[in-house]
Amino acid sequence: MSKTGLFGRLWGKADGRRAAQPDEPVAAEADLDVQSIPESGPPGGAAEQAVVAEESEPAGKAGWLAKLKAGLSKSSSRLTQGITTLFTKRKLDDEALEELEELLITADLGVATAGRVTARLAKTRFGQDVEPAEVKAALADEVADILEPVAKPLEPDVSRRPHVVLVVGVNGSGKTTTIGKLAKHYRDRGLSVLLAAGDTFRAAAVEQLNVWGERTGCPVIARDTGADAAGLAFDALAEAKRRGDDLLFIDTAGRLQNKSDLMAELQKVVRVIRKQDPTAPHDVLLVLDATVGQNAHSQVEVFKDMVDVTGLILTKLDGTARGGVLVALAETFGLPVHAIGVGEKADDLRPFEARAFARSLVGLD
């Protein structure tokens, strides 16, 4: 295929200046959001309201739904454009499938997973004349089938008093922000939450969690930078027990999974917590950045191996990254995906919904 083919058009459109077709809006992002929401949202007016409400920082159901869609459709708008240009009613032949596969690759699904998903699509529809919407729906179904089993919310067992949640991940994936959001979520549900500022390495990480503690009204157990993280976790658990808190979130310093000494340190945190409560930590959440590519496999593999990760949270889905690697991760590891992060504010955490994620990934809804 020549360079000026699909990808010439695709990339051309993506950078918004060489838009080939006059009916494509140049600054597509904003328009697409608004277009896409009414199509799918709850009947007519409500969706519109939601869009308006989104701008004025709303509370309540319609608000978050709109925001989720806005966030996700940003992630998928480029993919959508791609598929739409591809299939204005044409035969699903080898070439079309290859292009479809490549589009999935650009969403970070990875070569193997993208190949499998398109192969399954080909099984049922090869050679048929297909319309864009139909292909999208079928593609979303394939992706959703993979994701459905892993979409499970985090359900703390408050009878444990406390239910201990350890939050781990590489540097800059968004652990501290995610803890702030989780704290808000469970505080709003009326649970008492304690936070442990276990990132004793990075400068000002403790202060950062302290701010989140203030914002959410949760006490924070902290020590100075440089203190022993395991000792802090131990004390935090003792304090949570004494106070009878429902939930304890333990923040940890970001670490690259190939640093064996830092991973050993994390194992020590777990060991030390178990001295007080052999069943703890009850959940170990690995926080992944949606912009991450195939390295996510290595992250999940190593963290799971080292500290028995029980679930994933995908952050920064409000950008153009689509987090498609999650599909590949679901295939390989089957770890629950508890929530997604779609912004920097305290309520920018959403439950992970397989169908919605899949449909958004391919540009529906």
Binding site: A204, D289, N295
Partner: protein
């Protein structure tokens, strides 16, 4: 970071090299595998396609057919194109302006801007520049405090924080302070922002207009996937990027983002973030990285690293002994100590040519720096006479040595065998001399099954 990509590629190239003639189909097959390897390394699809097309054009053309070793030729073409994609030369930081020179750091949330700002300050300070750090991040909790602490650690100036001040005003105040107090450079660390966030992108553009930076560095995570192209392009169009800093290169990501961003923006990659400490910032050398990607090793970096850490006298003493074909256990011990000083063993081995293929083996062998410690302990548990004359060491001595070093007789045997192999090798080197070493490369010296031998 590039190890696994280099493993993949060297497998592909193994099939090509050593063959007399290559058909077009052979090349096409190899290039398909190159394509998958690059995609799995997170190189953006558009960049991969372009890359493969260019290689193909050259590979099926005259160049290969006329060549005596067509396989080698293909490898060379891939290598050349990799370098062309990564940029031909390393680019220095541009400080050619009336001081204080403004350096603007931009990027997504969590890409490592603040840490990189601190590292850059340390680097400039080492070049005898007076550096001021200023945080424009008024959004993330405690971000300004983080930079303040880093400034303290780096021993450079820090702009006092005024609560509630907006980024453009902070930037102006920083430049003002820079002028007033005679700073050479002012590093402006901005808040992480999404490239599609119109408002925040406009804000950083305003900052740029206010301070006219000579460098606007886009800081990105080496683990970034396909989105790297989008974000690099957007930042470049909206803010104007002069260079790229790739962070977390010390992770195991394959780092394809480096290729993508360079290809899309045409801006050079200037630095690599190699760790959490403030001195862990390296200048980017495209040719060396390309070599590492292809499993050709990065001998230049290795030699530089060795030069920086190995004591000259000790090395010369050792070289003389090797020339004479002598290599006893004391020499081995001193070698262990030198290696230890150079840092992580895996990192060093990664720089050796031909090691890429062995990486899997090495992983299984669980090479770590503790192993060196144990081996040192074994040698240290020997008497001086034993160290000079290992042949003395028989069963009962072995038992004593094992007990003394807290290891087993098997471990002692393993070490002795290893020493024997090394001594043999040293003899070879002695005979080859300097010229021979150059001709055969370091790879020629590595005995087969290196991984196993190190393993326990």
């Amino acid at each position: 970071m590039f190890e696994s990509l280099s493993q993949r590629l060297s497998k592909v190239f193994d099939k090509l090299t050593g063959r007399g003639a290559l058909s077009e189909a052979d090349v096409a097959e190899a290039l398909r595998e190159v394509r998958v390897a690059l995609l799995e390394a997170d190189v953006a699809l558009a960049v991969v396609k372009d890359f493969v097309a260019r290689v193909k054009e050259r590979a099926v053309g005259q160049e290969v057919i006329k060549s005596v070793t067509p396989g080698q030729m293909v490898v060379k073409i891939v290598h050349d194109e990799l370098i062309a994609t990564l940029g031909t030369e390393g680019a220095e930081l541009n400080l050619n302006a009336v001081p204080p020179v403004a350096i603007l750091m931009v990027g997504l949330q969590g890409s490592g801007k603040t840490t990189t700002s601190g590292k850059l300050a340390v680097r400039l300070k080492a070049d005898r520049k007076k550096v001021l750090l200023a945080s424009l991040d008024v959004y993330r909790p405690a971000a300004q405090r983080q930079l303040e602490i880093l400034a303290e650690q780096a021993g450079v100036g820090s702009l006092p924080v005024v609560m509630g001040e907006m980024p453009v005003a902070i930037a102006r105040r920083a430049m003002e302070m820079g002028r007033r107090e005679g700073y050479d450079a002012v590093i402006l660390d901005t808040a992480g922002r999404l490239h599609i966030d119109q408002e925040l992108m406009a804000e950083v553009a305003q900052v740029r207009d206010a301070v006219a930076p000579t460098e606007t560095l886009l800081v990105t995570d080496a683990m970034t996937g396909q989105d790297a192209v989008t974000l690099a392009r957007e930042f470049n169009e909206k803010v104007g990027v002069t260079g790229i800093v790739l962070t977390r290169v010390d992770g195991d990501a394959r780092g394809g983002a480096a290729l993508s961003m360079r290809a899309v923006t045409g801006r050079p990659i200037k630095f690599l973030g190699m760790g959490e400490k403030l001195d862990a910032l390296e200048v980017f050398h495209p040719d060396r990285i390309a070599g590492r990607i292809l499993g050709m090793g990065d001998v230049v970096s290795l030699v530089e690293k060795a030069m920086a850490t190995i004591e000259q006298d000790e090395a010369e003493r050792l070289a003389k002994r090797i020339e004479k074909g002598k290599f006893d256990l004391d020499d081995m011990l001193s070698q262990f100590r030198q290696v230890e000083k150079m840092g992580d063993l895996k990192g060093i081995l990664g720089m050796l040519p031909g090691i890429g293929k062995m990486a899997a083996q090495l992983k299984d062998a669980k090479i770590d720096n503790k192993m060196l410690g144990r081996q040192k302990a074994i040698i240290l548990s020997m008497t001086k006479v034993e160290r000079r004359n290992p042949d003395l060491i028989k069963a009962s001595r072995k038992k004593r040595i094992a007990a003394g070093s807290g290891t087993s007789v098997q471990d002692v045997n393993k070490l002795l065998k290893q020493h024997q192999q090394m001594a043999d090798m040293m003899k070879k080197v002695g005979k080859l001399g300097q010229k021979g070493l150059m001709r055969h490369g370091l790879g020629g010296l590595l005995p087969p099954g290196l991984g196993n031998r190190f393993g326990r």
